[in-house]
Each structure stands twice: as C-alpha cells, then as structure tokens.
Symmetry: C2
Subunit: 421 residues, 2 copies
C-alpha cells in the first residue's frame, strides 16, 4: 500500500476535548508514516475540503500539537454544514474527490456528532459509488451524548463535570443566602433533544432531597402546576430550591418552554431562555426571590475543569481512528465500551458508520425518577465514572491557561476553480 | 484582659473565598486562647445574633475548619440585612447587647462588603453610645471590588479569574464556529454599579483586537448605535464578536439596559437579562446568529477555579482581623496593600471603619479605553496579579470537589425572649 495523505476535520458544535481527538489523530498518524503522509486539517471542517483550504499540520511543532490535548474548541475551525445525499448534490462529492485527488488524500477522518457521522458515511460511499478509493473513519464527539453504540461521547463527560460542579457550587451559594434573600435558582443547560446534560446536574447532590431539587428533562413533558408545586414544596421544606433545566424542556404538545424561534443550518430550532421563562413563572405564581444562569457555551468550552476520563477517551478515539485506518478498516467509528462499571474500566470498540448515521441515542426512561424531577441510582451509576478525574491545563504566570494557537498554514491550492458553498 | 468569646458573621452576597476568611478568623483565634474563648458564628449572619442563633465553631473538628479554605459560599449562612441607625432602631442594638452579654461576647468580626462594614461600624459604636464594651473588626469581602482603601476585595480575584478564563474559552468556541454558525456571543457578568468584573473579562485577550472585542461598563453610557456599529465592525473584521456585558450597563439617563424591576432588601434594583436584551438588538439590527450566557451565581461560587492570590488574601484578612483585635485595635478593617506591582507583592494594612462604611470605590475612568469598549494597559496591570495562581480544591473519587459541610451546632439559648426581625 502506498503512502497517502489524510484529511481530518472537526464538525458541528465544538467541545472542550475535540482537540484532544485531533491530537490523537495527528500524533498517531506520525507513527504510521509508512502509510500516512501528511495530515491536512480542513479549515472550518468539511468546508475546508470543498474550498481547498487545507491546513498543513506537519508545519506545527510537536509541542503545539501536544498542547491541543489541553486546548478547548476547534483549533482548525469547525462548521455546521451537512452534505446532501449523493443523488441530490453530486457536485459537492465531485468537488471532494477533485480536492482529495489533487492532494493525494486517501484517508478521511471526520470528528463530530450524529449529523457529522452521516457526512462521514456519505463520504465513505465515494469509493463504491464514484470510484475514488478512500478510507473513511468517523471520530465520535458531541456534548449531547446521543451517538448510538458508544458508552458515551467525548465532550459529554467534561460538560457533565462542569454542570455537576457548577450546580453544587451555586447550590451552596443559595443555601447560604436563602434565609433573607434568593430562594430559587435556575441553571439552564444544553441538550436539545435529550436530557443527558441536565441529568449530570443531578450528580451535584446525593439524592432528591439535596440540590438540585428539580431537574427538567426534555423527555418529561413540562407541567407548570406540578413544577410550581414542587418549587413551593422545596422552599418550604429545605428553605430554597435549585433547578437544573434543559434548554429542550417542552410541554406535552412539543412546544419548547422557551422557543426563541430561530433555526440553525440543520433546521433545528435555536433555543435559549428557558431559565428566565421559568423564573418569571416562579415570580408570578409564588413571589419568591430568584436568580438564574444560562451556561450556554461556557459549559462546552470549560476545559479548565475537564474530566480526565473524557480527555483520555477523546484522545483514544482519535488514536483508534488512525489505527483502524492503517489496519485496513473502513466506514467505521471507534466507540467507547464500558467493560466494568465500578471501578470504571473502558476499552475501544467499533461501530459501522452505516448504522451510526442519524441515529439518536435517547436517555433511558428508567434513568429518570418516577416524579420526573430527578435521576435514578442507575443513572447516577452510569454518569458518575464519566466525570472522574481532573485534567488541568497548564497556566501562565498571569493566571491564565496556556491554550495553544496554531499557525494553521494553508497548503498551496492546486485547483484553479473556486467552489461556492 | 479577661478571656471573652468572639462573634463572627458572614454578610451580604457570598463569594468563593469568604469561608477562607472564616477559616483565618477561627484558626487564628485558637492561637490566642489567652484572650479569645470560643468563636460563635452567626447563623445567617447578623440575624443569628439577633435571634440568638449562635453556631459553636469549637464543636467542629480541625480538619473541617481547615476545609473551609477550599469551600465556597457562606458555611454559616449569610444575610442581606442592614441595621438601621441607632436612633432609628435602638431595639436592635439593645438586643445585640443582650445576646452578646448572655454569651460573654467581647469581639465582633463582621465579614462583608460596604453595607456590612456600615453595620460593623454601627456595632462598634455600642461601646461608646450604649456602654457595652466590644472590640469590633470588619473583614473585607465583596466580588464587587468596591470597598475603599484596600487594593482589592477578597472574592473579586476569583470572580475575575473565572470571568477571564470563561471569556477566553467561549471566545475560542465562537472563533471555531463563526464561519458557518454563531458570530456574536454575549456573556453577562455581575457588577451593579462598577465595571470591575466586566473589566476582568478584558484579561481574556491581549488587546482590543482579541476577544472580548466589546466590554460594556456601567461607567460608560450605553449607546445603541455605537454598540451595534462596533459589533458589525468586529464580525466583518475578525469574523466574530465577543461581548462581556456588566449587568449594570445603563443608558445615559441611568436606565439599566435590562431592568427586571425587582428590588432587594437594600432597595437596589435586582438586575438580570442584559445579555438577552443585547442579543435581541443584534438580531433585529444586524441579523447575525448569536448566543448568550448569564454567569450569575456561577461566577461568585466557582471555587473550582479560584485565584490562589485571592484565597491567600481572604485568609490573611481573617487572620489579621483577629490579630488586630487581640492587639487592642478597634473599629478598623484590615486591608490589602499593593507594595509592588510586578512581580506582585502585597501586605496587610488597616482602615478605620468610620471611613470605610458606605463608601463605594469606583473604577478609575482611565482604566477604560477612549472608545469605552475595552480596558487600558493600566487596568490590565492592576487586574492581572489578582488572578494569579490556581488553588484547586481536593476531589473525591467520583470527580466532585470535597466541599465541607459543617455540623453547625447551635449554642443553647440563654435568653427567654424571642426577637422578631
């Protein structure tokens, strides 16, 4: 087998550990120079391939590549861009082949969530349908934790840790103030369709008598009266009430509790504002003093408090992707396998892209308590290992984390034509 | 001098390091058993004194007291309760004397911000005006950084570190997504009347060409057109725009950009919501895709990323308060003195409570750039040392910080009468 270059791209919403996967890909590819030449990273994901904007990662020094392991977000740029089906937009696939051929690319590593693995799967069909031989491996990533097959998704563990710790810290704040001040606190967290991240807030307390007293999951239809009754009960019983609310919390009829109205590139409703909406309900119905926070991007970029387990898994997925590729595998995605629950032992497995694409893993309903407001012991057992360990970035003398900024030097273009996307 | 017990209370909004000051008070008092007997902590601040709800800190083991140093929020409960003037509500002062006398209290340590130092000053007048001898020492604390005399206020450095790091992390997120997704990000931070916390966001970038591209200070009248023009410029110039907005951002006429309408116990307007308000402006005027976060209590309770400098200063203030008291000082507050800017060297000084009370330290106007959107080099030089060093709490095997929960055993009441507050 001749030496071919590799294309690596980051896709979809970034995480605090997606660069650790990039690090795993690049460092491992270097160890297989008999098969993989250079690793070109797409500038802004797949868009970089379409535009022939390829970053030559071999021009970065080894220390910078290693520093990716502790640097959050997408060092090469990510994108929200979904390839259409081959039949619908053949032009895009022809362009990809044109670029891949021009740069002698034989490996395609695509680092993303469900939508992105769909793209990876489509690219993997290039060999068969359009006669361009390419080894295509997905690298899992998503804070939403909704990819199938894998025990968890790199990126999720760190968000979970951030949300669990932030909830506990804020809860201590309210507990100390509630006698004469704030009695209700609401933290809004991500999770459009699944309550994984909201569930992680549950790790802040030992049971439903400790904060958070209420978790609002997208899986449980929001019932205003039941919610307000529980808030009132908690304030009377515990002196205060801490709520972790998923942005995806919705009514029985599917209306989001807070619907901003906008939609993203994939047609998903863009959310935000469930916390102030709930705060308003509390104010009007109960009159308690409240505060609310919206973690938004802070939660998925909080590399400063990343889970060591998550960082290790993110790196391992990048590494495994390359090892799969050089060992002749194709159209697969490495996954995390839970070999043992406690103490947590995991290993690397694999799943076919054809089955990963566009399949959303829902949170099991038995992870949610009967009253719909907290997590079960089984959920706790699942989540707990994912936030284990701390993996702090190095800091400079001024107290700021030393996150690396790559040079991101583009490879000289070989094609004459531009491509409009 | 005979041995007298001490009363310690936490007051006002809590911080991630106020318990470090408590630790400093309690541990140092133990070293002066020739003068100080037990340290009684007020349950929920001064309210605990009025209700005769005194926590006997001598019943906690030494490890738990030491663990206060890494535990955020107010371990004994805090309060928003301001004593009226002696002339207006003599009954409260008589009650304090009654409780102090019943429990042989001769030292009063009050840990709080401007309003609280006002209370401390009033209590210090008890000796003179009502004939009850008491040594009264203030312990500075406030995330608002607005106490006079002291170089900075314990609690602020850690919020500053949290905001600087969170801003940088979120900025990396936007930078990697802006090509095809979010272009404008707004982080709302605390600071009702002064822009200290918003200014700390400026440490995330090297200058105004790096994120945050816009800081909105309460000190600079908000100009909608100028703001939107700058947002548009940044998106066109850098591809994205990161904004750190103080909750206290206001128009020329004093109206808050987002005024929730509610007021707290001190009559301060309760704020929240400047981020969504700004996001709405951006959407309507420019149409850019946006995201926004509201840090709220997360920022002031984030002990997981506390500034080591801040923790050390918080402890030192508690320690100095006791040392002042046993050396015969009265009606003073220890302060932090900046002996050298770089490398940062600080020491402990003192200020009279009579001059500290109700005086708000404004941010110097030369700390804000001419265009009103960023911080100056002088501001950076002031802020930078305050976030230096990391002081991580210990973690348990499940990946959660080991924050201590005290027993908080109440001393048996000696008075027959209850006191309604």
């Amino acid at each position: 087998m001749s030496v071919k270059n590799a294309f690596y791209a980051q896709s979809g919403g970034v995480t605090s550990v997606i660069n650790a996967s990039a690090c795993g890909v690049i460092e491992t590819a270097k160890q297989h120079s008999d098969k993989i030449g250079k690793v070109f990273a797409g500038r802004n994901g797949i868009i970089g391939a379409l535009r022939e904007e390829l970053i030559d990662t071999s021009l970065e020094d080894a220390e910078s590549i290693t520093a990716l392991k502790h640097t959050p977000s997408g060092a090469f740029g990510s994108c929200r861009y979904k390839l259409k089906n081959l039949e619908e937009n053949k032009r895009e696939y022809e362009r990809l082949i044109e670029v891949f051929r021009a740069h002698d690319i034989g490996y395609f590593f695509y680092n993303g969530g469900g939508d992105s693995q769909d793209t990876a799967y489509k690219v993997s069909q290039l060999s068969e349908k359009m006669g361009y031989p390419i080894t295509c491996i997905g690298v899992p990533k998503t804070v939403d934790n909704d990819l199938p097959f894998t025990d968890c998704c790199p990126g999720f563990g760190s968000v979970a840790k951030y949300v669990a710790i932030s909830t506990r810290e804020a809860a201590l704040d309210i507990a100390s103030m509630c006698e004469s001040s704030t009695k209700v606190f609401i933290l809004e967290v991500m999770g459009r369709h699944a309550g994984w991240i909201a569930a992680a807030g549950g790790l802040a307390g030992a049971d439903h008598n400790e904060a958070p007293h209420i978790i609002l999951f997208p899986e449980v239809p929001f019932d205003r009266e039941k919610f307000l009754a529980r808030v009132d009960h908690c304030v009377k019983e515990f002196g205060y009430c801490v709520i972790v609310a998923s942005e995806g919390a919705q009514y029985e009829d599917g209306r989001f509790v807070a619907d901003a109205g906008a939609k993203d590139a994939f047609g998903h409703t863009q959310l935000g504002g469930v916390a102030p909406t709930l705060a308003n309900m509390v104010r009007q119905a109960l009159g308690y003093k409240y505060h609310w926070a919206v973690a938004d991007y802070l939660q998925r970029s909080a590399r400063h408090i990343a889970s060591a387990t998550d960082v290790a898994q993110a790196y391992a997925m990048g590494k495994a992707a390359v090892e799969f590729a050089v060992s002749g595998k194709n159209a697969v995605m490495p996954i995390i396998v839970r070999d043992q629950a406690s103490p947590y032992v995991w290993s690397v497995g694999e799943a076919p892209l054809s089955q990963v694409a566009n399949q959303e893993k829902k949170m099991p309903i038995h992870y949610i308590s009967d009253d719909g407001f907290s997590i079960t012991a089984e959920c706790r057992e699942y989540l707990s290992p994912l936030i284990q360990g701390e993996d702090y970035p190095p800091y400079d003398d001024n107290g700021m984390p030393k996150y690396v900024k790559l040079n991101n030097t583009l490879v000289e273009k070989k094609l004459r034509n531009e491509f409009d996307i």
